[in-house]
Symmetry: C2
Subunit: 325 residues, 2 copies
Amino acid sequence: MPYKVLVIPGDGVGPEVVEAALYVIKAAASKYGVDLEIKTAEAGDAALRKYGTAMPPEALKLADEADVIFKGPIGESAYDVTSLIRMRYLLYANIRPVKNLPGVPAVKEIDCIFVRENVEDVYVGAEYRVGDVAIALKVITEKGTRRVARVARKYAEMRGRRVTIIHKANVLRVVDAFFRDVAMEELRGLEVDQMYVDAAAMELVRNPKRFDVVLTTNQYGDILTDLAAQVAGGIGLAPSGNIGDSKAMFEPVHGAAFDIAGKGIANPIATILSAAMMFEWMGRKDVANAIIVAVEKSIEKGIKTPDIGGDKSTIEVGKFIASII
Amino acid sequence: MPYKVLVIPGDGVGPEVVEAALYVIKAAASKYGVDLEIKTAEAGDAALRKYGTAMPPEALKLADEADVIFKGPIGESAYDVTSLIRMRYLLYANIRPVKNLPGVPAVKEIDCIFVRENVEDVYVGAEYRVGDVAIALKVITEKGTRRVARVARKYAEMRGRRVTIIHKANVLRVVDAFFRDVAMEELRGLEVDQMYVDAAAMELVRNPKRFDVVLTTNQYGDILTDLAAQVAGGIGLAPSGNIGDSKAMFEPVHGAAFDIAGKGIANPIATILSAAMMFEWMGRKDVANAIIVAVEKSIEKGIKTPDIGGDKSTIEVGKFIASII
Ligand SMILES: CC(C)[C@H](C(=O)O)[C@@H](O)C(=O)O
Ligand SMILES: CC(C)[C@H](C(=O)O)[C@@H](O)C(=O)O
C-alpha cells in the first residue's frame, strides 16, 4: 500500500522550495523503493483570493484522505491552514531539531531537539472582545501535556536522556505550573531540568549547547524555535514535523518570505530536511539519512543559495541534492 | 522637597548589586545636588522565609509612601513583589534600552529601546484550574494599550521616529490584533512597522540594528528583552525602568542568580544604569549622563567583573564608578 502524501505548495517562496524538495522526495522514493502516492492541493493566501477560503473543501478532503501532508509555508492565512491541520488531525507534537550544518556559519554550536506542544495554549482560538477589552484563553490540559511529554521522553531516550522543560511558572502559577508538573511526572527517570522562557531565550544565545531535548508549550515553542534556528545558522535550514497518533505534517519552520518569492533564491534545505523527517516518520531512517548526507554534500560542494553564501537557485539546489541521493 | 526613594535589595545577588549601585547613587546625588531621602525595605524570598510574606506590610507601606522604588532582583517570589509593585502603582510601561557598551563583546550591534506593556496580558493573574484543564486569561485593554503606546511615541519622538510593534496577530486574531490596531492609531504620523513575535526573536539575532523603538505586550516583552540584552553583551548590563503616571520603579533586567550570590562577582552595571534611568526620570538627564560616562570609563579602564572579562568585585566596580562621577 502506498503512502498517500498530500503536497500543499503554499504561498510566497512555498511553491519554489516545495518543487525543489519534490525532486529529492521522488528521487529518494524511487531509489530506496518507498511507494508514494502524491497528490497536490491549493491552500493559503492564494487559495483564499481564488476560492474565498484559505483551506478549500477540495484541499480538506484530500487532507482527510492523506496519510501525511507535506506543506510549504503559508502567508497571512497560516492560522486557517497550518493551525487548522494541526488541530483537525490532533498533530499534538511539533518536532523541531536544531543543529548546525557543516560549512554553514552559525552564531553558536547547537544540537538540540524541540518538542513543542502543538494544539493547545493560546492557539486554541478562544478569543473574545467585549467593548474595549480583549481576552484570549491560554488552555493547558493534563491529557495534552502527557501526550506531548511522552514524545519528549521518546526523543530523550534516543539521545542524552536529558529534557529541559521551559515555562513561566513564576508568573503563570496555575497554568504553566500545571504543564511543568504533569510533564515532570511523565518524564520521571530521565534527567529533567526547567527554565523560565525569558531565561531560555537568553540561554539559547549565550550557551545553546546546554540544551538537549526541550519540551515547551505552543507559543513559547513558536518563539524559541525561530530563535534557535537563527542561532544554528538561519531559518532557511530548519525543518519540522507535526506528529499525531496516526497522521503527520512536515513543513519548513520558515514563513512565506514574500519579499524574495519568485526570485529563485529561497533556500530549499529546510523543506528538504522536512522531507527527510517525513521518511523517518514512515519508518525509513535509511532514506532520511541519505537525504541528510546529500544535503551536507551539496553544501560542501558549494551548491548553495545566496543566504548561506552560494550563487545557486532554489531549483538547482533541489535538483543537485536529488541527483546525488 | 527630597525624592523619597525606597530601596529593596532583593534576593540572590540583589543585595550586592544594590549596595554597589548605592555608592553611585549617593555620590551622584551629592555631587549634582539631588535631594534624596533613602529608605530600605525587605521583600522577596528572604522576607517570605522570615515574615511569611514576600511583600511584608512594612515594605508595602514604605512603597506606598515612596516617590520611586529602586529594586534589586527578586527570586522565586518575584510575582508577589515585582509584579505586585507594577500592578499596584500602575507602572504600565517597562522601558528597557538595549545598547552595546564600548569594550564589551557583543553578539551583534544593537541600539534600541523596548517599551513593554507592564500590567496586562497573562500577567493579570486570572488563572483557573478545573480538574484536568488549566486556563489563564490574556487580557488586553484599549486604555492600557493607548497609554503604553503613548510612551513609545514619546521615545520615538526623541529618537528616530520609528516604532516596531511586535505581536502575534496571525494567531491571536482578536487580542493581538486589538493591541496592534489601537497602538497603530496612537502612533499615527510616525514610521511604524510590525513584526510577529517569532520573527522578531529571529531578527534580534540576525539583524538587531533594524530596531529602534519596539512596542510590545507584556510577555513578549519579557522574552524579547532578555534575548536582546544577551545580544548586546549580556544580561549583566541591562537596566530597566517601570514607569507610571506618578510613580516609578527601577531595577536590573536580570534575575537573582542564586548560583553566584555572595561571591562578589555579579556585575553591578545593570543596576547602576537603572540608577541612571532613575535620575533621568527625576528630570536630571545630566546626572544620568554622568553615570553612563562613568560606567563606560570604568569598563575602558578594566575595572570590570568576570562576566565581561575583568577580575574586580561587584563592590569594587561600584566604588570605582562612584569615585569618578
Ligand atoms: C504561521 C504560524 C501560524 C505558525 C505558528 O505560530 O505556529 C508558524 O509561526 C510556525 O511556527 O509554524
Ligand atoms: C521575575 C518576573 C516576574 C519578571 C517578569 O516576568 O516580568 C522578570 O522576568 C522581568 O522581566 O522583570
